[in-house]
Amino acid sequence: MKLLYYPGCTLKTSAKNLEKSAFAIIEKLGHEVEEMEDWNCCGVASSLTDDDLMHHLAPLRNLIHVQDQGEEKIVTLCDMCYNTLKQTNLRMKEKPDDLETLNLFMDRENDYKGTVKVLHFLEFLRDEIGFNALKKMVKNPLKGMKIMPYYGCMLLRPREVAIDDAEEPTILKDVLKTLGAEVIDNPFKIECCGSYHTIEEKKLVSDRAHRISKFAVERGSDAIVLSCPLCRFNLDVRGKEAEKLYNNYKQVPVYYYTQLIAVALGLDPKNCGFDNHAVDPILLLKKKGVFEKKED
């Protein structure tokens, strides 16, 4: 199967490791991935005022280009891109008048017909690959690792675009179980990491990271798994900075689920870009002996 992929800005810059590890998995699973042509920024934050159609233009243009390439599905890796594209897609379906206005406005583009489906890579793994199939391919089970899944906001809210239950999501838990890790539940798994405040309100975001991680650590987790590049930055980098603000606080490593899958599938750790983390992610994997557990 060939996957058409929408990267977004961050996957090409500070979250290259998310892209690389995902690509390695796709290849290992025997599928192809193709980056869509002529993509542009998704706009990151979905338009929240009713009269503001302008900010739907960017995501819509991407959807049109997917349509132009004759594809029905577009897979994203970034949670924010996923959310923005999907919210625009939904609005275009629910409000045909808005779609018409925008189609008229974009006279250089083809008209959008509303047929594209926006998928998050997690959905692809769950619904099209299946966790059972994935489980069979695990070579280095993450045995002994106690990990807290962290979802953040954009995978779950608003409910209309969620990939899982908005209050009790399980998809990352299921990934971890598939990989053989022990799952530590955390009620803060669905709470905001601080998002873009990481630029102007660093302490605020460090506080968030501290609160979320501390709860996980208190319940015995030694790592956090997540999917969003901004959440990763905030929990990892701002979490590390929180060590200076809170006595005896130590930030645990933060992984992308793609990194853990890649490791568990026995892929070369180079695919994971572990050097780009504030808290060393390799140390724990080594400590738990994950790399030595090759089962074949």
């Binding site: 239950d165 209050e167 009620p187």
Partner: protein
């Protein structure tokens, strides 16, 4: 906590005969292995029936679907009028949701104790055919002639043989999650729902039965019949009442943020109710599920699933504020050390005595926090942390409790759609059954001849359900009123015991744990056995249960007992039940005595086991002493004048008259004003709708005027009343003339009035300060000038020291009137100052939300101890504008609102004629002037004086819908004696010893019921002696106490009986 999904299983309980042949695949082998002497005959019976292809047919007058408290009340009301009832229930017992509850608000009456006598009465009623474990499949025909197909599932237990001994359940190896205990416990695959189940017949849960046959092997009466088939029964009925009740929302799909099903110590309020119940999984102890320890703190979250426009139901569930308050109070009273907090949005303590109940809970130390928690999480010690904003302090808080209770929504039965389809009646958008007209015909379903009772058309508390059920009974009589009636029970002839020496049987009740946990019933039994003349004594879990009553009857016959004593609770609630048992055993019902070892002993001496045991022995000994001297008494029979007097010609009175007329019963409406219509005459429209008041009353008045069975007397007042149930004579003052009328029963429908505000909020000092009624009259007459700023002030003169109660209707009326002003003058700015927004139930809540949203009413919550202040204009205090100072509870700051119209929601009190009527009818009235019913929960329409009933706002202010349901209910109650045509009086009456009587007339004065007259002495006509009218005498004993010469004896309590009781009480060790 076993939280296995039970839903799948429940679907099979619908009576779909899919798996009925479950036991036919393999049973041959199992059965062959056992020696079952009856197999052959059972097989023969079934095959014969099958060969004929016949289904059982039952002819009845009314079919009732659902035997919860509503269904039971409706059944008894119909059956008491002499008509045949078939009542079915989906479960294997009757009692519905009420029997799951521990106690009921606001009286804290034991729930099973009030429901059980009704259950037993129902099962014994000669006109009622009870079919449990059955459901309705289809209906055809028209009112007066319905054919309804019922599917009765096999219990695989022969009801005639099962003794309810529990041997089968003891050996059954299968544990099934117990839906009766709300999944907190398990039961066996052969089970009864609860110890007092009626009928007391075990049921095999075929889905979970593994067919091992253990039960069959241990069953001594050989009641297990694996081959008994489920059957289709055709019921022919003239009318159908649907009373299938409600379900409780389980927050597993929606509102997961409260952790139900995920965290052990998060439970629903109904589960908590089971924890409190004496026959629940913890036998009444409050223990948290994770470790079975007493929690140090408990939190309640209100409105879980209710009042939710997303992830829930838009309506208010109406009962949760009060049940949470009740549960919290009970837990707090039993364990004062528990820290209890209830998180709420508005406390809807709207009903009679509800506000006082809520105040009492706060006095007990139950904390109320206004704030709806956002989410909860579990801590490593399994405690639960709640995140909330205390909206009255403005603080964002986290609070940790050992146990969290969710007051989850009442929701429509999932089965409603199927039942609706089977019966051809419609459900609304929520899934509740639709009323034909919410405002004027709330009991009528969307199909003629089918009526609704209880929570099936929206959440309701018990008295409202019971009232509505009586109303449904009245409506159901209409299509069948001319059918033959069957009155009274046939009892075996009474055995003459006057020449026998006393042979006393004593039955001692555990009352679950109510008695047995606080005193030694074993010892009491042993000591009682030693007393002279006691031939038999035993103790039982519940003497009032059906099997216990059966045992009393059998024992009385076997042992030739001629006096029966029950040592249990109060004769007021249970006496009649046991007297019936005596009559069934062929004994005169006055050969019965009750020793109240619960209310008078175990409850009040719960902290002293030995002393309580001793006192119980004293009480029983004294009862035995009296019982030796009990004599058979006779009852006077008298006829009933077939007409009802209705006092008050408002909506309630008119609806009652129409309901009576539909049942073929004549009535007289007495109205003090010159026109019918009551308060509605002056009102504009009716909450929770936009229907004009005149559109409600005018068609009613027209119908009444055209109905020959109804006599209307306007400008009339009852000035004199004499007589008693069935035989009343009254004098009516009409425009200066006096008229005499006769009637058999009385319905009081005198309504309420707004209180005199006595200058509160400057009322009376400025022409633009109005009460709600004044405003409505202005609106109705189009006299309201356009106001710029309107301020509504709710709770004027309510919930304060002088009047501690809530008026129940004020919030709704203020919302409606705010909408009316806004519709008429869209530019007017409207502020609504309130304390708690008490728009309860279905429709009201939605109406409120709609008005806030679409008419932009600004609601401001003010604290009860800091009431708004009205400041008049200095220059023009009489007509000028004013300012209102109000403390906004939510923002915690004082605001000043300019206004040119103030509308005060004045509290209410009983109608003007209450005081006069109270004395004339000899009925009680509370401090607010509202009439007091016999029992707040299960007899909301009756007075303790028989033959007199009440409805509408005379009982307590209520909205139109509830008033109409009550009015039709009162009509049903008042129709019972009339339908019976004859009644029996009391056996316990006073008797004059004429030889001793000096004719001083002291007793005549003492009698509150005018039952005594002076008449010439039979042996010496020059001498006057007292004579008691046996029909009027209530047996109160005042005359006997007043008589200076001991010339009056009260039967059943004569001097000798009392003296020996006292002597026995003072005796230290009679037994020796």
């Amino acid at each position: 906590m076993p939280l296995k999904s039970y839903n799948k299983k429940m679907d099979h309980d619908l009576g779909i005969p899919l798996q009925d042949d479950y036991f036919y695949d393999e049973p041959e082998e199992i059965i062959e292995n056992k020696t079952m002497p009856e197999i052959e005959s059972t097989i023969k019976l079934i095959s014969e029936r099958a060969k004929k292809g016949e289904k059982r047919k039952i002819d009845a007058d009314v079919l009732i679907i659902g035997a919860g408290i509503s269904g039971m009340q409706a059944a008894l009301d119909v059956a008491d009028k002499g008509y045949k009832v078939v009542i079915i229930d989906k479960t294997s017992t009757i009692g519905g949701a009420m029997v799951k509850l521990d106690k009921t608000f606001p009286t804290n009456d034991c729930s099973i104790c009030t429901a059980a006598p009704k259950m037993v009465e129902l099962s014994r009623h000669p006109n009622i055919n009870l079919i449990t474990y059955a459901d309705v499949n289809s209906l055809e025909g028209k009112p007066g002639d319905f054919k309804v197909n019922i599917w009765r599932k096999s219990k695989y237990v022969d009801p005639d043989k099962c003794t309810g001994c529990d041997d089968c359940a003891e050996v059954c190896p299968v544990n099934v999650v117990n839906p009766f205990d709300e999944k907190l416990s398990t039961r066996k695959a052969i089970y009864i729902e609860f110890p007092q189940a009626v009928p007391i017949v075990y049921t095999i849960d075929y889905e979970n039965c593994i067919g091992c046959g253990y039960c069959d092997r241990v069953c001594e009466p050989e009641a297990i019949t694996f081959l008994e088939k489920s059957e289709e029964i055709e019921v022919n009925a003239g009318a159908v009442i649907v009373a299938t009740g409600f379900e409780v929302f389980e927050p597993t799909e929606m509102r997961k943020e409260y952790g139900y099903g995920k965290y052990d110590n998060v439970i629903t309020a109904l589960q908590f109710e089971r924890l409190l119940s004496s026959f629940g999984p913890t036998e009444g102890k409050v223990l948290r599920p994770s470790d079975a320890k007493l929690p140090k703190s408990i939190g309640w979250i209100q409105c879980v699933g209710s009042r939710s426009e997303q992830l829930g139901f838009p309506y208010c569930s109406r009962v949760c504020c009060m049940y949470a308050t009740k549960e919290a109070s009970i837990a707090k009273e039993a364990n004062p050390e528990i820290d209890i907090t209830i998180y709420y949005m508005d406390i809807r303590a709207y009903g009679k005595d509800f506000q006082q109940y809520y105040d009492h809970a706060r006095d007990l130390g139950v904390k109320y926090v206004r704030g709806r928690p956002s989410s909860v999480y579990e801590n490593p010690d399994k405690s639960i942390t709640i995140k909330y904003k205390d909206t009255l302090t403005g603080k964002i808080e986290e609070s940790t409790v050992d146990m969290l209770v969710l007051s989850t929504a009442i929701m429509p039965n999932k089965d409603n759609k199927r039942v609706g389809k089977a019966l051809g009646i419609e459900v609304d958008e929520n899934g509740f059954f639709k009323q034909d007209s919410l405002l004027t015909d709330p009991i009528q379903s969307s199909k003629k001849g089918i009526f609704l009772a209880g929570c099936i058309q929206g959440p309701k508390d018990i008295p409202d359900s019971v009232s509505m059920a009586s109303g449904a009974a009245a409506k159901a009589i209409a299509p069948i009123k001319d059918r033959p009636k069957n009155i009274g029970k046939d009892f075996p002839p009474e055995r003459d015991v006057s020449n026998e020496k006393p042979r006393i049987g004593v039955f001692i009740c555990h009352c679950g744990k109510n008695i047995a946990n606080y005193l030694d019933v074993e010892k009491l039994t042993e000591e009682t056995k030693k007393l002279p003349n006691v031939e038999f004594c035993d103790h039982m879990m519940f003497v009032c249960s059906e099997d216990s009553c059966k045992k009393i009857k059998e024992t009385a016959q076997e042992k030739g007992l001629n006096r029966i004593i029950v040592a249990a609770c109060s004769p007021r609630t249970h006496g009649g039940l046991f007297q019936d048992t005596l009559m069934e055993a062929g004994l005169n019902k006055y050969l019965f005595e009750m020793a109240n070892i619960r209310n008078h002993c175990s409850w009040v001496h719960s902290d002293n086991w030995d002393a309580a045991t001793k006192k119980a022995m004293d009480l029983v000994r004294s009862s035995v002493a009296k019982a030796r001297h009990l004599q058979a008494l006779s009852e006077e029979e008298f006829s009933i004048y077939p007409k009802t007097l209705i006092i008050g010609g408002g909506v309630s009175g008119m609806k009652a008259a129409l309901a009576l007329a539909d049942m073929g019963i004549k009535s007289i409406i007495l109205e003090k004003e010159s026109k019918l219509g009551g308060r509605l005459k002056n009102l504009h429209s009716m909450f929770p709708s936009d229907t004009k008041a005149e559109d409600v009353i005018n068609p009613m008045i027209k119908k009444i005027r055209g109905n020959k069975k109804i006599t209307v007397m306007t400008d009339s007042e009852l000035s004199e009343l004499e007589g008693y149930i069935g035989n009343y004579k009254g004098k009516v003052k009409q425009k200066g003339k006096k008229k005499e009328i006769e009637f058999g029963t009385i319905i009081v429908a005198t309504g309420f009035k707004e209180i005199d505000l006595k200058g509160k909020y400057q009322y009376g000092k400025n022409t633009n300060i109005l009460t709600q009624t004044e405003l409505e009259t202005k609106l109705k007459n189009n006299e309201l000038k356009e106001p710029k700023n309107v301020v509504f002030i709710n709770c004027a003169g309510a919930m304060d020291e002088e009047r501690p109660y809530c008026c129940r209707v004020g919030c709704g009326v203020s919302i409606k009137n705010a909408k009316l002003i806004s519709q008429k003058y869209p530019k007017s700015k409207i502020y609504l100052l309130y304390r708690d927004m008490r728009v309860f139930g279905k429709e009201e809540e939605e109406y409120y939300a709609d008005v806030l949203k679409n008419y932009h009413v600004t609601a401001i919550r003010y604290p009860g101890d800091n009431k708004p202040e009205v400041i008049l204009d200095k220059k023009d205090p009489k007509n000028g504008p004013f300012e209102i100072k109000v403390y906004d509870d939510i923002l915690n700051e004082e605001m000043t609102l300019p206004a040119d119209l103030i509308v005060l929601t004045a509290n209410t009190e009983g109608g003007a004629e209450t005081e006069k009527l109270k004395n004339m009818l000899k009925v009680p009235v509370d401090s607010a002037g509202f009439f007091i019913e016999t029992h707040a929960k299960i007899k909301p329409l009756d007075f303790s004086t028989s033959g007199v009933y009440m409805c509408g706002a005379a009982h307590y202010p209520k909205n139109l819908v509830d008033s109409i349901a009550q009015a039709e209910g009162a009509a049903s109650r008042a129709a019972i004696p009339i339908s019976q045509e004859k009644m029996k009086g009391e056996g316990i009456v006073s008797e004059v010893v004429e030889d001793k009587c000096r004719g001083c007339a002291t007793c005549v004065e003492a009698c509150a019921y005018s039952a005594i007259d002076l008449v010439p002495y039979s042996k010496d006509s020059t001498r006057m002696v007292a004579k008691v009218n046996r029909a009027l005498c209530k047996g109160c004993g005042s005359c006997a106490a007043a008589c200076l010469n001991s010339a009056i004896e009260q039967k059943g309590y004569d001097s000798k009986q009392i003296n020996v009781m006292i002597a026995a009480l003072l005796e230290e060790e009679t037994a020796k």
